[in-house]
Amino acid sequence: MTDALSQYSVLALYSAMALYAIAFVLFTLDLARGASDDGAPVGESKDVTLAAPKRKLARIAMALTVLGWVLQLAATVMRGLAASRVPWANMYEFAMTGTLIIIGVFLIVNLKWDMKFLGSFVTGLVLLLLGLAATRYYVEIVPLPPALQSYWLVIHVFVATLATGFFALGFALSLMQLLQSRREAAAAAGAKTKLAFLTRLPDAAQLENYAYRLIIIGFVLWTFTLIAGAIWAEKAWGRYWGWDTKEVWTFIIWTIYAGYIHARSTRGWRGTRSAWLAMIGFAAVIFNFTVVNIFFKGLHAYSGL
């Protein structure tokens, strides 16, 4: 029974990945189309407005992403049921749940603002992480070691993953912002650029606003993660803070994003520099999840490898 469930889980995950892959291609084609469509001047509108028919590709890609997400949700739930616990207790499961949440955040944000232009990035990133997880870090289901048997595992890890979802979108938006401001500068100087595909995207200032709003949500969640982690560490290891490698990196990430928030209100740092900080912050998040989990030694040796 358990075996069958975990096999179905893998099957559902692979199907989800296939859908994401198609969605990735369509999202990218949709982006590329922007290049041949220099019609709408940048910054003309506060929202991403485009005649619906032109964006058929993006809409299909979105539908596929939703479908893939449902399949991945099923995969994750089955994994959890098979293990009789939350499905985030080793690298493979972190990746599975984490990417589920990244896509989930992407879909939810899209209900509010049209962010289909991030589809390529999001599906691409998720495919990369899931591909790595499935091929390199797959492990069979094993029970939780005593150190992880705590409801703080549920809370702390879940909220951390949720924060990661917001930071990921913040990263993508900041990257777009950087490229967009480069394109805007080139356009102002009358030069030609390869960035024409960005014409249909919001202008750099608007991208920055979007990025900021998502990142502050991520930052609040990350602050909570930090506190919850300390409470758990106090219960499990007898001290709330011990500069364990994972704690160090959680702190570093928090500090970088605090810097990002300050940068927005520091003269000379708004715009390009703060975008760089947002990107460095997310790079640190990814580093924390991959390199620190796998190669660094410390109390948080739960990668399951």
Binding site: A236, G238, I252, T255, H262
Partner: protein
């Protein structure tokens, strides 16, 4: 800059630099960077063995790194300098803002700008058959209902109200920054008044909370040993449960439980359990289950059969199947001082080379092997010796590898002769031991309090919009009345446009204009 500033001038200049937003930002980023090396190089505080290993592996570079305090990054002079500067900057920044904010809280909203249509959010409408005062009142009450602070300003024919809300945004921001200072202070003091001690003991043994009962003890700077509340903890039983069904995880631990009897002086004894994520809170201290292992019971007799040593001895686990290493010292009662060092295997198995190892952590086929040394145990010089290490420098090896005879080997209940007719050793049975970590941190509640205050302040300051709104009303020459609504955000405010539109709609409805 004027070179003739004088000392106070320079100080003032320095202070302004230090408390500027840019400096705060740079210090924050610097702090993030400075924290990195501590995750690359082992730290004395969290991984002392790793540091020794590093010194052994990198004989050339380790001392150089050490001179930069790379093994104590988080208490190093340079790391401390950064965060202390950061916090001075923070205080210097936040105090004037607090004063400013108090003044703003008491002040009226500012006068209405002359040209509202130039503001980032603007809407207007014209209505007939009503008075300017009535239209303005519609706006004023709508703003009041949305909890704006409202003031009336008239200029010529134009009557207006000015409104402001979201003072909580700045309050939250200040609470957040002050709470960070609180966290820092509480953390700083916490280490000072508390203590942390470790103690390993086996089933049936009792631990008394007093200085001499600890195997190791780290008091804080201001710790006073008279604050140790007397109590005892007796280990009744330790149970480790291992996975037996799941073929991917055979032998993986699924539960550790220590059943204990605790007694605070002057109170009745109580039964309690301690688990990995469930520490025992007793008399102001927290007791954590840190480790566990086996304690074989060993009896040594002289050639006449008199017992010269009998005790359970904690063997320290060396791997996840609990191959364990332990030491027995018998200074008196035999012809020579005797030292035994050996391995305990809860479930013994033999490798290709003939070496034993444990293949399962639970007690299925326990085996004990002991190497035998005689000579000087080095106990008489008054130098403290670890009970877990045997100094064999002044001893002769009688049994074991490269010795005249093989190691002594026991199953439970077996007795084996010592070499040279020294006597006998008996392996009577196996108990389990636990190592407990006993802590007191009187300020950790404060750390939590300030952390949560910071979180609350953060939520308020990031998500409550601060904005000003204005409504100005003019009576036109044809008797109709034109109302203008405008808004200005302070800080990030995605909902400003919507708020101005909503205000206009509300006013229109109040004065009887239907929306078209």
């Amino acid at each position: 800059m004027n070179p003739n500033l004088g000392v106070t001038g320079w100080l003032r200049w320095f202070w302004r630099q230090l408390t500027s937003m840019r400096t705060a930002l740079l210090l924050l980023l610097l702090l993030a960077i400075a924290a990195v090396p501590g995750s690359l190089v082992p730290q004395r505080s969290s991984d002392p063995n790793g540091v020794s290993q590093y010194f052994a592996d990198h004989k050339d570079t380790a001392p150089i790194l050490d001179s930069f305090q790379m093994f104590d990054v988080y208490s190093s002079a340079w790391f401390s300098a950064i965060y202390i500067l950061l916090f001075i900057s923070l205080i210097g920044c936040v105090l004037p803002r607090t004063k400013h904010h108090f003044e703003a809280l008491q002040a009226q909203p500012p006068t209405t700008p002359a040209n509202l249509s130039r503001l980032p959010a603007f809407a207007e409408f014209t209505v007939t058959g009503t008075s300017a005062e009535a239209v303005l009142e519609a706006g004023r009450s709508a703003l009041k209902a949305d909890r704006y602070r409202v003031a009336r300003y008239d200029r010529g024919d134009t009557i207006s109200v000015s409104a402001e809300r979201g003072y909580m945004r700045e309050t939250g921001n200040l609470v957040f920054h002050f709470a960070l200072v609180g966290v820092l202070i509480a953390v700083g003091f916490g280490g000072g008044f508390g203590f942390a001690g470790q103690r390993a003991f086996y089933e049936g043994q009792a631990f008394t909370n007093s200085l001499i009962a600890f195997d190791s003890f780290n008091p804080g700077r201001f710790f006073n040993s008279s604050t140790l509340t007397p109590y005892t903890i007796t280990l009744d039983k330790f149970t480790a449960t291992y996975e037996e069904k799941n073929t991917n995880a055979i032998g993986q631990p699924t539960d550790f439980t220590a059943e204990v009897t605790t007694q605070v002086k002057g109170e009745d004894p109580q039964k309690n359990t301690i688990k990995v994520n469930e520490p025992l809170r007793i008399a102001g201290t927290d007791v954590y289950l840190l480790g566990h292992g086996y304690a074989p019971t060993i009896t040594v007799r002289d050639p006449e059969g008199n017992v010269v040593f009998t005790d359970s001895v904690n063997f320290l686990p060396q791997d996840k199947n609990l191959t364990s290493l332990g030491v027995v010292k018998v200074p008196d009662g035999l012809a020579e001082q005797l030292g035994l060092i050996g391995f305990f295997y809860p479930t013994v198995s033999e490798g290709h080379s003939g070496a034993y190892f444990s293949m399962y952590p639970d007690l299925i086929d326990p085996r004990l092997t002991l190497d035998v040394y005689t000579g000087d145990l080095g106990l008489d010089e008054g130098i403290p010796r670890s009970v877990y290490a045997l100094d064999t420098a002044d001893m002769t090896k009688l049994a074991g590898r490269k010795a005249p005879q093989k190691s002594l080997e026991f199953s439970v209940g077996e007795t084996v002769e010592l070499p040279n007719g020294l006597g006998t050793v008996t392996f009577d049975g196996v108990k389990r031991f636990v190592s407990l970590d006993i802590h007191r941190d009187p300020t950790q509640g404060w750390v939590l309090f300030f952390s949560l205050a910071a979180l609350a302040g953060l939520l308020i300051s990031l998500f409550i919009p601060r904005r000003r709104m204005w409504v100005s009303v003019t009576e036109n020459s044809d008797g109709s009345v034109t109302a203008q609504c405008a808004g200005l955000a302070r800080g990030d405010d995605p909902t400003l446009l919507g708020a101005v539109d909503a205000l206009k709609d509300k006013m229109e409805r109040t004065v009887g204009l239907s929306r078209d």
